[in-house]
């Protein structure tokens, strides 16, 4: 069974705080792991992805994610959040032969307090 689990439905932090959004997956075979962001009223926007190599990948706007094979995880982090980071974040897994065949997690809503 191929699943993506985002354990936190909602995370609230203060502006300037660090944040980690958790993602665990279950998938057989060679895969891509990715994160997408959805601001209210907008479509999904690509943040970053991992396929192989350095397990820490850098994305846009200061986001990074770390792959862990032993934990089957791909957590997203940011050292200092800005109010504009308020959005819903989706973790996704896809097979390497079709990156668009995404299986998404339920999403984590990140709220930033001033």
């Amino acid at each position: 069974t191929q699943t993506v689990s985002q354990s936190d439905a909602h995370v609230t932090v203060f502006e300037g705080d660090s944040v980690e959004l958790r993602c665990n997956y279950s998938y057989g075979g060679s895969i891509y792991l990715s994160w997408y962001i959805q601001h209210h009223g907008h479509g999904l926007q690509f943040l970053l992805k991992y396929y192989s190599g350095n397990p820490v990948v850098q994305g846009v706007n200061g986001f990074e994610a770390e792959f862990s094979k032993s934990d089957s995880s791909f957590h997203l982090r940011k050292a200092s959040v800005h109010w504009s980071d308020s959005a819903v974040y989706f973790c996704a897994v896809s097979p390497n032969y079709n990156q668009g065949k995404l299986i998404f997690g339920q999403g984590t809503k990140l709220s930033i307090k001033p």
Binding site: G43, L44, F46, Q99, G100
Partner: protein
């Protein structure tokens, strides 16, 4: 222009009536996808085109149709809308199916409300 355009942004439909949603991209991408997203649920892949070949997911096979008359344009068709079709429909495209440099671009979505 790296945008995927979806029209309309909002659509109202009556139960039992057909619905046609439109997506376009000018990036000359080989692959176009349609996802369905309901509130508090993960986006779910409905179908995708690779070039002219349509691939529909097994559990949505009979519920949705699609056409791709040219490389830039892809539609999603519901023959007879039911209340359960109310959702956000997201279109996406990518240059090819795989590859480390391949990126998926999403449109802003069409919110379909069936009454």
């Amino acid at each position: 222009d790296t945008t995927v355009k979806q029209n309309p942004r909002y659509k109202l439909a009556r139960v039992g009536k057909p619905v046609n949603l439109i997506c376009s991209q000018t990036m000359n991408h080989d692959t176009m996808y349609w996802y369905q997203k309901k509130p508090n649920q993960a986006p779910k892949l409905l179908l995708f085109y690779y070039d002219k070949i349509l691939n529909r997911e097994a559990d949505t096979f009979e519920k949705f149709q699609s056409s791709r008359p040219n490389n830039s344009f892809c539609s999603l068709y519901i023959g007879s809308a039911g209340l359960e079709y109310s959702a956000m429909y997201l279109c996406a495209s990518s240059r090819k199916l795989g590859g480390s440099q391949n990126t998926l671009y999403f449109g802003a979505g069409t919110r379909l409300s069936v009454l």
